[in-house]
């Protein structure tokens, strides 16, 4: 029962299906299993560690300077971006040329930045969520939600790109309509 309720929570709070955050990245991720694996891992790393950084910044930032949040969050993601690229370079130098593209795709996009802002917004509205553990858990949840959405899209990816779909709607347009229908189902669950 716990797993089912957690699964429902993951679906209903899913940032892609409810807020369309990271939809373009999702389309790239769902293209192949390899893409999905690497992009999902890097996005989850960015959202989880980035959320901890966002918590620290929120705590230090005076109320009158909230417009600086974007700049400071960008700097957090920038630092993580360099850290991840450095780790990949020094641990897996041979395939660095291949793996770095996933880091490029995952760093500055709506999925990651939107997660940091959404978590902070929720914490501002509900003070019980304003602690570092909650930020990290929600950051990890957002990454997991991205993986879940990518699997949902992957399940229909071949059909939506097949010749059975009219040429004009084949690919992206069909995927958007498909995501819309899934999103509508989530809307009904809430």
């Amino acid at each position: 029962m716990f797993l089912i309720s957690e699964f429902v929570v993951l679906l209903t709070t899913n940032l892609i299906l409810t807020k369309a955050l990271g939809t373009s990245t999702l389309f790239i991720a769902a293209g192949s299993r390899k893409n999905l694996l690497w992009i999902a891992i890097t996005i989850t790393a960015f959202t989880t560690v980035g959320s901890a950084g966002a918590y620290l910044i929120n705590g230090m930032l005076p109320e009158n300077f909230t417009d600086l949040r974007l700049l400071l969050y960008v700097l957090i993601i920038g630092v993580l971006y360099f850290a991840l690229l450095s780790v990949l370079y020094f641990t897996d130098g041979k395939s660095f040329g291949t793996t770095r593209k996933y880091v490029h795709v995952s760093a500055f996009n709506c999925a990651v930045m939107g997660t940091l802002f959404t978590i902070s917004e929720n914490a501002d509205a509900d003070t019980s969520l304003n602690n570092i553990v909650s930020f990290i858990i929600r950051g990890a949840e957002a990454g997991t939600g991205f993986i879940l959405s990518a699997f949902i899209l992957m399940a229909a990816f071949k059909i939506l790109n097949s010749k059975e779909v009219p040429a004009a709607f084949r690919g992206f347009p069909a995927m958007l309509v498909y995501l819309g229908i899934i999103s509508m189902a989530m809307y009904a669950l809430v």
Partner: protein, 209 residues
Amino acid sequence: MTNKKRPLLEGLISGNTVLSGLMVISPVIVCGNTVMNALALMYAFSAITFITVMIGSFIPKRLPYGMKIVIYAVIASIIYIPVKAAAEEFFPDIIPRIGIYFMLVAVNSLITVQTEAKFYRMTRGKMTASLILHILGFDAVMLIIAAVRELLAYGTFCGRIVDADILISGLGAPFGGFILLGIFCGIYRGIGNAMRHDDDVSGGDGECF
């Protein structure tokens, strides 16, 4: 259209940021449900993207790719501050409704991806023209989709009640945005295919004209 004009007009029609590249679609799907929201987002997107890309073009080319992307994002985040301050004067009621999407336009794909992939490979004059057309392409799609959604979902236009017989309230929700944008993408491709008299265009790559 001549071959010389085609690459420049690409951003407006054939390589439209939203309909062809499927970039910056989150604000269109979620906030593009009223014309006033659309105007506020168009203003933010246009101002931040144009100023950032123009300033970013002075960043030395020899810097590593990753470093340049971070610098562009930092420039956009700094530009965001005065842009938001001005937006609060022009759209005081709209900004809270748009919420995080106003900030998210500052890290849009035209800045973090297309700068290095496209704009900075052009001469400055061509880059400026292409950038303006890409921005106008986004603005046009945003405005059209928002107008259609507002009319069909709420029976209003710019907040004024119009005589609409049928209301489809779901079109105002994000799922309505997904579905309508998908339909618009399909129509856009269909028109592109018809114009080329080419029925054998392969799908999935987003390019259709």
